[in-house]
Amino acid sequence: MNELVLTLGWLGIYAPMALGAASSAIGCAIAGQASIGAMTETEGGYGRFIGVSAFPSTMVIYGIVIMFTLNRDVTPENAGGLFGIGILSGIALMYCGIWQGRACAAAINATKEKPEIFGLSLAPAAIIEGFGVFAFVFALVISAGIS
């Protein structure tokens, strides 16, 4: 039984990093495809498209920081806490990254026609980033209570 609990603890430590990496990869791929499509139809502003498509890469950074914060000796007493925080923060980061990628793709698709809405079109992606930051910060706060 203890082995299972300890395994869950290790799973919780690595989950934010793994799920964050997966979400950044998917999000950047989604937004990246949009920027490639937009580049075939526009005459300039390519750098902007590529910059926007890199937005979801922040999720893996948050995941790495949470992983380092949770990283400690895993015991039967702290394994449950590590698992809960790690898995849930990882899932939150994953959703944020994927949907941020979709929001960025929509922004790129819209701004290829109307460059003047570039800033405003990024608002949804920025709001999603805010939710990712919530998941990140409160994972750090809660992890301080785990022995």
Partner: protein, 230 residues
């Protein structure tokens, strides 16, 4: 339900359109559009072909009968697996059925026995033949205007109204599909509307009339089009 991210690059590579009836041309030429559509998966390309083939008037022979047209549309509907595309296809069929009924009635046609056309109103329309809008005003608020334009013998105005209604229907569905196959199919159907309007000018109409006249007279070998007998 299609993969929501299946055609991100394709959709992003397609130019948006200006306002309908303001744009003189479709936003992209058919040649370039077809080149972009090569990115579609084979089965999606086939569905799009079926959809376009069933909805494009140019793909129908002039002497096609109602029964043949309805059979063709029913067969096409069976080959379209996406619920959204089925829905918009049926909406277009409803529109065409209602307009065909208006035209038939204007020509003095009596109430068809049983069903007429295809879609939700195939039985309702013959049952309400004498009503100016077949008692469909709540479901099709544009039908009254269509009837008035038909009575006023304003074909261009009627064409404009029908294209506008079809365009609105497609835009409503487009709002729920960003980067999936349905979004691509809706783009192509909207492109067709722009193309149809762009072709609605006098010169094209004259050319098409001449083509149709030649087709109709093809069997009469001893008459040429200069008005002289051979």
């Amino acid at each position: 339900m299609s993969d929501p991210d299946a055609y991100i690059a394709l959709i992003s590579s397609l130019p948006g359109s200006e306002r309908l009836f303001v744009a003189k041309q479709p936003p992209i030429s058919r040649l370039r559009l077809d080149r972009r559509l090569r990115a579609l998966a084979r089965e999606d390309a086939q569905v799009l072909r079926v959809l376009e083939h069933a909805l494009n008037w140019g793909d129908y022979d002039m002497d096609v009968t109602d029964v043949q047209a309805v059979e063709r549309c029913k067969a096409a509907l069976g080959d379209i697996p996406q619920p959204t595309l089925q829905k918009l296809f049926l909406e277009r069929m409803d529109l065409r059925t209602a307009v065909a009924a208006l035209r038939l009635r204007k020509q003095g046609g009596s109430s068809p026995a049983g069903t007429f056309g295809m879609g939700r109103w195939a039985r309702h329309i013959p049952a309400n033949w004498s009503d100016p809008t077949f008692k469909l005003e709540s479901s099709m608020p544009w039908l009254k205007e269509a009837q008035q334009l038909l009575e006023a013998e304003d074909p261009l105005g009627l064409e404009r109204l029908l294209l506008s209604v079809s365009h609105k229907q497609l835009k409503r569905h487009a709002a729920r599909h960003l980067f999936d196959f349905e979004a691509v199919a809706i783009y192509v159907l909207i492109w067709s509307i722009f193309d149809r309007w762009a072709q609605s000018n006098a010169q094209d109409a004259a050319t098409r009339f001449e083509k149709l006249a030649q087709q109709a007279m093809a069997d009469v070998a001893d008459i040429d089009f200069e008005g002289a007998y051979a």
